[in-house]
Symmetry: C2
Subunit: 360 residues, 2 copies
């Protein structure tokens, strides 16, 4: 199995006895089992040359006992996590861990039994997607595009942000899939807060509508933002909108050119961020108060990053967002976000909702 | 503010200069702002005798600038988290942390600037609810009861687990509130997995239906499980069901008696777990493969615990579940879960859906 192989290579390179996988996203990636909570620690994987274990408790043991390549170690009243770790420590001394995902108190417990080695590689384990993963993200994007088309019919005076968010969620769930995060819906001035908390604000004529939502299809996420105008857009809005759009297009164009020439590997997240960001600043607007983009897959936000400090090299198989924005307090904001993937000879856009200025 | 006072007391008792609050649930508890992601680190609170800070980035700064008692420290390209920590370290040396919520890599960064002191108290910061919090949980429970009543009308041959889960979710969201976790719906044999992953299994006559779901009302969660029979229950099911019900009732009765006598403080989570668990075992069934109960509030699972090893003392103001279960692989399972709170002179049941064996 290719995915496990990456970890075995890391184990070998770092001269480890085993690697402990703790993040739920990596557990999904390696087992396809996606029912563990993202909010609490319910399972670990332990991977080594000889054997792989899945450590969990009685709530899950029947379900996970069918997962191939992993032997179940069940935490119970007679067999605590400490007992299991102690027993494993007879053969395992040097243990690789996801240090960004193990808490200080968990670390203290693990250190009783193992020498812990942080494995930065595991943070980027999923950074290059295979074709199957890209197709899942594409499918999620496609349902997102349909949701965007659908929701425009629901926009009318007096509707609340929460009602629109609910309609988006319903549309997605009725399509048999899940949302990848709670939809962000911001009307008017609220759109100046990039991560506005969708509330009871009612829509009035001549307001900005910012919609940021995503779909989860077979564990893979999409993410898209569109900003439309309810009424007749004035010059100020047009200027802001077109500046954001141009900013996004310039970043996409540059990436596409590099991809066509097989040179995307020569560019990092920082330089693409700079192209989009500088276009906004040189037009007299404030800098983007967030990164230009983020990788996406099993998590909505994962490597690579496109930000002013990112050294992540952009390679074929990566899937990420490009989402410049301009936010003016007490006026409103515009963000346009699309997902792209780098192919061997081009940049492929995965979201296809229209990006031209739309008045509804 | 009473909630901050608890932390200031902890700071003083531990002779600290400040406490760093990192868990989103504690941030919601202290600020009422609930828009930070539970999946990624987007904010910290820093609390000290003199001043309180909220550390976050530009996606949130406009929204959080209105939160009283907290001064915003904004992470930006020119002012990294490291810069902020360095500047704070001029006055702060000993820093209390939620060691179960700070990762090893975050810990490494913090240790450059501070001496870190794990604060176990913060894990139980929210363990005693005030009346306002209890009323919110009660309201969540009430909507959950309505959802249970509603969903029974939707049960019919051929319906899938996912369809029932969707209907529950829709009912809750149409009530203007949120779900506290994705509903667990298990038909037939699937009910033998305590945390079954709701799927496409279709309902047939004479099957068990296990429903475990909750509501979130103004950031406070409910949680309830009911197991009903689709068709005519046979003796085997009746025996299992009534054993679970009696197990639950015996735990509730014992807690109620102790509360009436003002003696609940003399009992810990372990002894209540034992009452319910031993009833199941002495009837010849396997032990409960999970805890008898868990506290609930801003998180679905929080202290206190009612488990074979829990030393948590059960005090007035605590809100928790009592949820015994019997699970027979290749047959099915029964769980009955209700929420209770300890009052000064009685145990109050917060969920009110009928618990008698129901055939639908």
């Amino acid at each position: 199995m290719n995915k496990l192989k990456k970890i075995l290579e890391t184990i070998s390179e770092n001269k480890l006895d085993a690697a402990l996988i703790s993040s739920v996203s990596n557990i999904i990636y390696l087992t396809n089992y996606s029912n563990f909570s993202h909010l609490e620690r319910e399972a670990f994987l332990l991977i080594s040359e000889k054997k792989n274990y899945l450590i969990t408790d009685g709530r899950y043991s029947e379900a996970v006992s069918k997962i191939p390549s992993f032997e179940l170690l069940e935490i119970s009243d007679n067999n605590s996590l400490d007992d299991i770790l102690k027993s494993l420590s007879k053969k395992i001394k040097k243990l690789g861990v996801q240090d960004y995902n193990i808490s200080l108190s968990e670390g203290k417990k693990l250190k009783k039994y193992f020498k812990l080695i942080p494995l930065k590689d595991l943070e980027s384990l999923r950074i290059i997607k295979n074709e199957n993963e890209i197709q899942k993200i594409k499918k999620a994007c496609q349902i997102g595009d349909e949701a965007f088309k659908y929701i425009q019919e629901k926009i009318k005076s007096g509707v609340t942000e929460k009602e629109i968010a609910f309609e988006i969620e319903m549309f997605i769930k009725k399509s048999g899939v899940d949302i990848s995060f709670p939809p962000i819906v911001a009307f008017g001035k609220n759109s100046s807060i990039p991560h506005h908390q969708t509330g009871n604000t009612k829509l009035s004529k001549n307001q900005i509508i910012l919609l940021d939502f995503g779909v989860k299809f077979e564990n893979y996420c999409s993410d898209m933002t569109r900003t439309v105008f309810f009424g007749k857009a004035d010059d100020k809005f047009r200027k802001i909108y077109n500046t954001v759009l141009k900013s996004q297009k310039s970043a996409i164009e540059q990436l596409n050119n590099l991809a066509i020439n097989g040179k995307s590997k020569m560019v990092n997240g920082k330089s693409i961020d700079r192209i989009a960001r500088s276009h906004i600043i040189k037009n007299g607007f404030p800098t983007i108060p967030h990164s230009l983009g983020h990788g996406i897959g099993i998590e909505v936000h994962e490597p690579p990053r496109l930000s002013p400090k990112s050294k992540d090299i952009l390679k074929p198989g990566m899937v990420f967002s490009i989402e410049p924005g301009i936010y003016i307090p007490n006026y409103g904001g515009v963000r346009i976000e699309d997902l792209v993937t780098i192919r061997k000879n081009k940049l492929e856009l995965l979201t296809h909702s229209p990006r031209k200025l739309t008045e509804v």
